[in-house]
């Protein structure tokens, strides 16, 4: 058995990396919004899903017109990011902002709203797809350029072109985001609002605007992640955001919620863990417990972190005000 485990290990790690980058990108959206508003934006799962659906539709309609697969993907990424980002802004504007303006102190109120928004978005997409194609279980169209593959390390790892693209695009996005947050004026403003919204407004920062931008950035990242997810895993439906969403949140908590490098790290770690258990659990239990328990593993990890290190891997303990 050990031999079997070792022989596929490089592949397992690579596949985990692919999954991890998806989680990392989605986790960033959770962590940025949480950093600024202390809100678990459940609807972010659906922002991700919208990206995936846009990806499918772009490939469906533009594949015959656009001969180059990479160009096609670029269009899909841009459109997916834009539509997802715009949706995120709308959600903030019409669902969360009214609550903020009323000054509700009850923390359940925004949370329940977020769940409601998440449900609404799922069925809205279903409605649109139903009207459009009378079908909401979608399949990503395959494009030759992206379906190629090659072996690495003498066949130890089988790499699909699209996986490689996914990793490269994610890395570029993550680097870009890191630059934006750390080096630009907008980034400093976002961090300032996250640390102390009221004092930030004393600096002349309009918190509403910054919050809106934060949703835009997080939403676009989620949308791009959705397109890449659709490309990689090919089947998409309006409810496909839920599990990756919860797991990405887990990743954000794992890294330390509100912490941007933490979300990236958390996503990558969780991708590895999940893929590891998903692959090896059936082997280790002689098929008694199958891949389907990998989701259970993710949730158990979430609980363990929250109990043992609630501030996450990179988070700091914050003094509570009494």
């Amino acid at each position: 058995m050990l031999e079997q485990i070792l022989s596929i290990l490089p592949q397992v790690i690579f596949d985990g990396l692919v999954l991890g980058f998806v989680y990392a990108m989605v986790a960033l959206g959770y962590t940025m919004v949480y950093g600024v508003l202390e809100l678990i934006n459940f609807a972010h799962s659906e922002i991700f899903m919208i990206g995936a659906v846009v990806g499918v539709e772009v490939f469906r309609y533009l594949a015959p017109q656009v001969p180059n697969g990479f160009l096609l993907l670029l269009i899909a990424l841009l459109l997916g990011g834009a539509i997802a980002g715009a949706t995120a802004i709308l959600v903030e504007r019409f669902a969360y902002r009214p609550l903020r303006k009323r000054g509700t102190t009850n923390r359940l109120v925004p949370l329940i709203t977020a769940i409601g928004v998440s449900f609404i978005l799922q069925d809205l997409v279903r409605l649109i797809e139903g009207l459009w194609h009378n079908e909401f279980f979608l399949r990503m169209r395959t494009v030759e350029d992206l379906e190629g593959s090659f072996d690495l390390f003498g066949g130890a790892i089988f790499v699909q072109t699209k996986s490689l693209v996914l990793i490269l695009v994610s890395m570029a996005m993550l680097v870009g985001l890191t630059y934006l947050v750390n080096r630009t004026k907008l980034g400093v403003a976002i961090r300032a609002v996250a640390q102390d919204l009221q004092t930030a407004s004393l600096m002349g920062i309009d918190p509403d605007r910054i919050i809106s931008r934060t949703f835009l950035i997080g939403g676009s990242l989620g949308g791009v992640a959705g397109v890449l997810f659709a490309l990689q895993y090919t089947t998409v439906n309006p409810y496909v955001g839920f599990l990756p969403g919860v797991k990405a949140f887990t990743a954000a908590v794992l890294g330390g919620i509100g912490n941007i490098p933490g979300a990236m790290l958390g996503g990558l770690v969780l991708g590895q863990l999940e893929n590891f258990f998903g692959t090896y659990l059936p082997i280790l239990t002689n098929g008694n417990f199958g891949t389907e328990y990998k989701d259970v593993v993710a949730f158990l990890i979430l609980i363990l972190i929250l109990l043992l290190r609630p501030q996450g891997l990179l988070g700091q303990v914050v003094k509570e005000k009494v």
Binding site: R102, N106, V109, T113, G116, F119, I120, D123, R126, N134
Partner: protein, 442 residues
């Protein structure tokens, strides 16, 4: 004012007689709202409510239009919340609605019974969740998990399923259901303890996502524990599940002059059983709300630090709320399994948890009549109005794709209920006084 209310209600009675159906029921609901909110003397109000009860019953019996059921629940709410109505009127009219109106309508149209039972099961669960979310302020998004544990507790042993891993004579006879209602209280309370012990140490929003995750874990287990040992029979679910024998009940009813046939006997039985359970659950809810535990929950919800400084231990107190809510859900799960004779993982998804949450939110967190009204409204909306609307859409717009069937959009509806309530009326339709006070502060 009094004359107008009387005229309106008489008018509705006439309509119910002449033109029973959805339109006249809408008129009746309007008349009910007027009766509830207009300034009437207590006696006039009682008389008008009695008139409305009669009219809604008549309409329901003649047309089977389920808006009439909303009307009846509305009258119940009015009876429990409006001031100065004599107690005997409240009791008499309330019992008349529950024990006469609904069964009469049910005999005419079995769908009404079915709906009544569903409303009842959901209402009891909403009241259970109300303890957790409404009183203690703990957002539990995996509440359906306890419902599942209760349902499977009986389904496994009340069917042949248990033979797969136990020696013995299965299914257990139907009367064991009563015993299993007790056992389910224990198993769900223990499940609540196991889930709550880690989850309740966490801050509010983390609790929400952890309960959501654990609810999902329970569903995954139900879905996959058909191997290596077949405990839950996986996605196919378990059927048939035993129902308790009701010969005695039939005889009793026959003595009372209510002859029952094969389609209505179990329906009436389960309807009454569910009513009994709701009565018990309401009683317990009220008792808890006015006890040291209820006050401790509210205190924790408002200010954990101040509550602890009063000597209230956080985790045990929260656990108590969590386990109480779980036990309510578990008992109803047993009844659900027996009534349906079928249990499968599909009934216990996140959607189910959110539906129950939606009922609590719609009615008003912490509010007992609110939870019941919320359960009635959302159940009828889901099981009847959306379906009716679907048929309407299908016949009127046959060119629309089949995927655009309103009945399939319950998530959209529940989502809208949650969001709109949170934005415009977070304290719910029938606010509980403490929550109203909390939501007021700007």
């Amino acid at each position: 004012m009094s004359a107008l209310a009387f005229a309106l209600n008489l008018g509705y009675l006439a309509l119910a007689f002449l033109a029973p159906g959805a339109l006249s029921n809408l008129f009746g609901l309007g008349a009910l709202l007027y009766t509830a909110f207009a300034r009437l003397s207590p006696n006039a109000r009682a008389l008008n409510l009695a008139l409305l009860t009669l009219a809604f019953t008549l309409n329901l019996q003649r047309s089977g239009n389920t808006l009439g059921l909303i009307g009846l629940v509305g009258i119940l709410v009015a009876l429990t919340t409006l001031p100065k109505i004599p107690t005997w009127v409240r009791a008499l009219l309330g019992l008349a609605i529950l024990l006469l109106s609904v069964p009469i309508a049910g005999f005419a149209n079995t769908f009404i019974f079915e709906l009544g039972i569903q409303i009842g099961i959901y209402a009891a669960m909403a009241l259970g969740l109300n303890v957790v979310v409404g009183m203690a302020g703990l957002l539990d998004l995996g509440y359906a998990a306890f419902f599942a544990v209760g349902a499977y507790t009986w389904a496994i042993f009340g069917s042949e399923q248990a033979k797969n891993f136990l020696q013995g004579n299965f299914p257990l006879p139907g009367e064991y259901m009563y015993l299993f209602m007790g056992i389910a209280i224990v198993t769900t309370a223990i499940t609540g303890l196991l889930i709550g012990l880690p989850a309740l140490r966490l801050r509010g929003d983390y609790l929400a996502i952890v309960t959501l995750g654990l609810g999902e874990v329970v569903r995954i287990l139900a879905n996959n524990l058909d191997h290596p040992i077949n405990i839950t029979n996986g996605p196919q679910g378990i059927t048939p599940v035993q129902r308790p024998p009701i010969d005695g009940f039939r005889n009793l009813m026959a003595h009372l002059g209510v002859p029952l046939d094969r389609t209505t006997d179990y329906q009436l039985f389960f309807y009454l059983l569910v009513l009994l359970m709701i009565g018990l659950v309401v009683l317990v809810n009220v008792n808890l709300a006015n006890s040291r535990f209820g006050r401790a929950w509210v205190a924790i919800r408002e200010d954990e630090i101040a509550a602890r400084s009063m000597g209230i231990p956080l985790l045990p107190t929260k656990l108590l709320a969590f386990m109480t809510g779980a036990a309510f859900s578990g008992v109803m799960g047993v009844i659900f399994a027996a009534q349906r004779t079928f249990v499968s993982p599909e009934s216990f998804t996140l959607l189910a948890s959110i539906t129950i949450l939606g009922m609590v939110i719609l009615g008003g967190m912490g509010s007992i009549p609110g939870a019941i009204l919320g359960a009635a409204a959302l159940t009828i909306l889901n099981l009847d109005i959306l379906k009716t609307f679907s048929e309407f859409v299908r016949t009127s717009f046959p060119q629309l794709p089949s995927q655009v069937d309103p009945a399939k959009y319950e998530r959209l509806v529940f989502g809208l209920v949650l969001v709109l309530m949170m934005i415009f009326r977070p304290e719910g339709l029938i606010p509980e006084r403490r929550h109203r006070a909390e939501m007021e502060e700007a």
